[in-house]
């Protein structure tokens, strides 16, 4: 069980939006984690500086938040390590070929009314829900 948390959800979502708008304003880039990360794996893209800075900030802020307001930070995971490894490979390959993930397609792309992003988001949300149903309700969970 996890509780319905409307206020942190709305606040956190708004911050995600603010960061997307700022990245567009300063660097003219979509705040999609797939696209940003892809330029940081070989063959490296020439503009790795802002990419590394953005990712550095995205990792560092939770470290700070965990230190000063640990009770605002919840983390629960019940997935066995082997499945995390397998799932990681699947997610990495999927978002690369699909040209984006929840942040790139789901937020930035839909905000621009991109047809590709609308289709991609519908497909991955459906696929995720189907996978969760299969694992939890057909196979009985981990």
């Amino acid at each position: 069980m996890t509780e319905f948390t409307p206020v942190p959800a709305l606040l956190g979502g708004a911050l995600i939006g603010v960061s997307a708008v700022l990245l567009m304003a300063f660097h003219g880039r979509i705040a999609g984690m797939t696209g940003i990360l892809s330029g940081l794996v070989p063959p490296f893209s020439g503009d790795w500086g802002w990419r590394a800075a953005f990712i550095g900030g995205a990792v560092f802020a939770p470290v700070l938040l965990g230190a000063v307001a640990g009770d605002m930070v919840a983390f629960q995971s019940e997935v066995p390590a082997l499945w995390l490894v397998l799932g990681g490979l699947i997610v990495g390959a999927g978002v690369y070929y699909g040209s984006g993930c929840t942040s790139g397609h789901g937020v930035c792309g839909i905000a621009r009314l991109s047809p590709r992003s609308i289709v991609a988001t519908f497909v991955f949300m459906t696929s995720t829900a189907a996978t969760v149903y299969l694992i939890r309700h057909v196979l009985g969970g981990f």
Partner: protein, 147 residues
């Protein structure tokens, strides 16, 4: 160097938003998708708020001639709904449904210093690197053949 400060600050805002919203909490994410079980609607509000702010903010920002640190806005221009897009998205969903981690949730989760986040993210970067390597190798061999 000075150009990296806004990118760093923007990344910090992103990371704070993700962690606060619960997008970096795998069990909470999986519960959002579990309509037949322990459904937690929170993530619908995350998406709604993020979308509203981005849609409104983009309208203002994209009216400007160019971003602060670049000559052009880099907006994806492709419109084709093709197999890589739909297939990739479907595959991504399988991995998201197994683990509860998406890329934008996993990177900030590294800052929570949780072993599960490290294992997943390492593997995910491996998956991106492998897919990128295959695409670039294939593109290079096609170019060599047509030359």
């Amino acid at each position: 160097m000075i150009r990296l400060i806004p990118a760093l600050a923007t990344g910090m805002i992103f990371g704070t938003g993700i962690v606060l919203s619960g997008m970096s909490n795998p069990t909470k994410v999986l519960n959002f998708f579990d309509f037949a079980g322990t459904w937690d609607a929170s993530l619908a509000l995350v998406m709604a708020a993020a979308l509203a702010v981005t849609a409104i903010g983009y309208r203002t920002v994209l009216k400007r001639p160019a971003p602060v640190f670049d000559k052009v806005f880099h907006l994806p221009s492709g419109r084709r709904i093709d197999i890589p897009l739909v297939g990739g998205a479907a595959v991504f969903g399988i991995g998201w449904g197994i683990t509860g981690f998406c890329p934008g949730g996993a990177i900030p989760a590294l800052g929570l210093l949780e072993a599960d986040a490290v294992i997943f993210t390492g593997s995910m970067i491996g998956g991106i690197a492998l897919a990128r390597f295959i695409r670039h190798t294939r593109a290079a061999s096609l170019a060599a053949r047509s030359a």
